[in-house]
Amino acid sequence: MYHETNSIAIDGINGHVVKTEADVSDGLPGFSLVGYLSSELREARERVWIAVKNSGFRFPPKKITINLAPANLRKEGTSYDLTKVVAVLTALEVLDNTFVPDMVFEGEVSLDGSIRRIKGILPMAYTAANKGFKYIILPKENVKEALIVENIKVIGVTHINDLFDILKDPEAYVETEKISFTDYTKSNDNIDFIDVKGQIRSKRAIEIGVSGMHNVLMIGPPGSGKTMLAKRIPGIMPLPEFDDIMEISKLYSVSALLSEDKPLIDKRPFRSPHHSITQTALAGGGLYPKPGEISLANKGVLFLDELPEFNRRTIEVLRQPMEEGLVNISRVGFNTVYPANFMLVAAMNPCPCGYYPDYKKCNCSVVSVKKYLSRVSRPILDRIDISTETDILKYSDINTSDNEDYYSTNNMRERVCEVHNIQKERYKNEDYSFNCELSPGSIKKYCKLNKYASDLIKEIFDSEFISARGYHKVLKVARTIADTMGKEIIEEEHITEAISYRGIDKKYNGGVV
């Protein structure tokens, strides 16, 4: 007697259909699992055996073989338990198999036969719907996560015994509660840029940064509000669209970061890893790859606080993902791709004590300041277009009564969206969509300067105020600044503002130290 069932294997954030084949034949009684299995899957042999037994069913003394096909695909995790149970029980003709070919089974079984919550349900349900399956059978606790996916009927199970009835008449058990995607996106944020008093220059720099998707570095003394500003950045990005939300949520789903009552990540993520983070935790990896912080920050903000404190080699792993918007994790026999399309926001103190160049407060020696600044990886600084300095707040800033509406999250987001649209329109024939992605070649094409501006930039370049690399950065940022003002031709004013966001290398007493 032979029967097969379907389930989904996760690869990155996409899924493949995995067929579970069960065969019951005469021979030496036994129960074996084959098909390129990880250790937790091999252990499933015991779980399935005992769970089925404890659900009140007795296996006949037959040779039972279960194969997970395709056999060359590495499978891991505990989500295949349920599909094995169903495969065995249908092969033994205990369960009704009329609807089984249209169904996908996901779930971990415990020894008493109850079904446990698993991770990665969202991409599984998504794949199942795309592959044309009608039903997805999954742990009751995961139901909400799957309900978001349209075109598939979701059935939650709590115990193996429920399967007997469900497979006879699945329609009766389909979850009727429909959660529409819009229910989740209405949640309102309680952090707003309006809470940040003062810091007008930094707010402006951030707005420009988000408008052109430039990476931003904030430099300032401790307590000047760098983290506070950074936390509010995802809020001024355009609201995530359905595809974005799905992509973000899938990543969180495979990382087991979705909860029952919050099955969808409807906001742009803000990830702020501690500086003791390892390369693997940042980029993703492990024996069975998991998304790292850069992937969890996909479509949102990766905030690196105390940038010089990060291990230099850890930071260097950001280079390739920042160029390509994805991270490719290679393992023997397979590789996994996770999206990593984030905006990098970094913060640092100008010196170990944080008050340089104010010698009234700063006690650091010249050498220690130099050392501190040089700890930041050069290649990463090259990828940061905008540097801004945060000021220490004065009492008058904190206690100001006028609520500066201009820099409220909603207003900033509106302006950012406008600039994004301008860029989308301009780069519709290109394979990039933001100013930050302009190559030196395309800078010539898209960054047109008027006469005053080109005179000015020549003068600046000749005075060795900026380097050749800085020149391109300035033009890219000036392009965005011009876009925020709705100008197609870059003017003098845009260049000067862009220059004020240049890096730290030429600042601090002209780089003399």
């Binding site: 300032g220 010698y359 009234k360 000067t496 600042k507 130290v513």
Partner: protein
């Protein structure tokens, strides 16, 4: 071998055989050649060197270290002079404990010209840097040689100021040997100094910059000069060591005063309290050295910014040497931020002002 060669030999025996030993030996043996030819027994009899040093001296007669030093000197164009040599700076000869020898690149200070040592803090702030550069420039214009130590902060600005004058001479006394540029980042000035002055050190080639050498080089800085100008010396600053050495050597001590509450000026103000000459303009320095000058150098004081328009002039009028926050400029001029930024950046490019970090601006002299 002549006296010059023997002097190089004796200077390169070991660190432990220093100036005092050599001058005592010279009292006994009259000339270097006699020291070289002295037997072990006679060296023991003089009771100047200990056993180990005598052994080293005898071993060094194989000329290994000597040859090595000569090789580096030839390759790197390093010159050598010693106390008895005619090229040895006269000013230095008369200080207490003068260095027995000097290695130098470029040239040595001219005995017939006046020279000033400009010293001060490494982590000097904008005001100190600007004053250092400005005064060094002005005194270099009067043909005075500027001597300093190639360190960060005041030192390097002093060199820069003097180098900006055509024909201006400036000399750096190092705490390491002359073939090493310390700190490394001042390499541009190091190279320029060789052609417009010199690099001077008493340490044989390949001596690394170790802390104990620095107070020793300070006595050369003050010894080579007629007067010492102190800018921004904090409490317990190394500049105070140089200042006290300068007083011991009978040099003029000139100090730029600062705010009495500013810890960067504690040392400076203390020196003034002790009777140092207070300097508020370059004339004070010239007076102190007894140099004649035209009275019209004065109106340099207020710089005329011919190529600035009226708004730019208004903005620059708000600034001084102390850091001025951006908000203050915004408040006073009532101009929108982008416009102010444009003005500030343009003036910075022209070299009139400088962004000294954290949205603070100050003028440049």
């Amino acid at each position: 071998m002549n006296d010059y060669d023997y002097a190089i030999w004796i200077a390169n025996i070991d660190y432990s055989i220093g100036n005092a030993h050599i001058s005592k030996l010279l009292n006994v043996y009259k000339c270097f050649e006699d020291i070289f030819k002295a037997s072990e027994k006679s060296l023991i009899n003089t009771n100047i060197l200990n056993e180990k040093q005598i052994l080293m001296m005898i071993e060094s007669k194989n000329m290994k270290k000597y040859n090595l030093t000569r090789e580096i000197m030839d390759k790197d164009n390093i010159n050598f002079t010693y106390l008895q040599d005619i090229r040895y700076p006269k000013k230095l000869r008369h200080i207490q404990n003068p260095p027995f020898c000097l290695y130098y690149k470029g040239e040595l200070p001219d005995d017939n010209k006046k020279s000033i040592a400009v010293i001060g803090a490494r982590n000097a702030n904008h005001e100190g840097r600007e004053l250092s550069e400005k005064y060094s420039k002005q005194i270099a214009e009067y043909g005075i040689e500027v001597i300093s130590g190639l360190a960060y902060g005041i030192d390097i600005c002093a060199h820069r100021g003097a180098l900006s004058v055509t024909g201006g001479k400036t000399f750096a006394c190092l705490g390491c040997s002359v073939d090493i540029c310390y700190p490394r980042s001042n390499i541009n000035e190091y190279i320029e100094l060789i052609n417009n002055g010199g690099i001077i050190s008493e340490f044989p080639p390949k001596t690394p910059p170790i802390a104990r050498n620095f107070p020793m080089r300070n006595r050369i800085i003050s010894g080579l000069s007629d007067g010492v100008l102190v800018i921004e010396a904090g409490k317990n600053s190394g500049s105070l060591i140089t200042a006290s050495m300068a007083l011991d050597q009978g040099r003029e001590l000139m100090v730029i005063p600062g705010n009495i509450r500013d810890r960067l000026y504690f040392g400076s103000n203390e020196l003034i309290k002790g009777g140092a000459c207070l300097v508020t303009e370059v004339k004070d320095i010239l007076d102190c050295l007894g140099i004649f000058y035209d009275n019209d150098i004065e109106e340099e004081k207020t710089k005329i910014y011919k190529d600035l328009n009226s708004t730019e002039k208004e903005v620059i009028g708000l600034l001084n040497l102390n850091p001025c926050p951006l908000e203050y400029i915004l408040e006073k001029t009532m101009l929108p931020l982008p416009k102010i930024m444009k003005i500030l950046i343009k003036m910075e490019i022209k070299g009139y002002i400088r962004d000294i970090g954290n949205h603070n601006y100050a003028i440049r002299l």
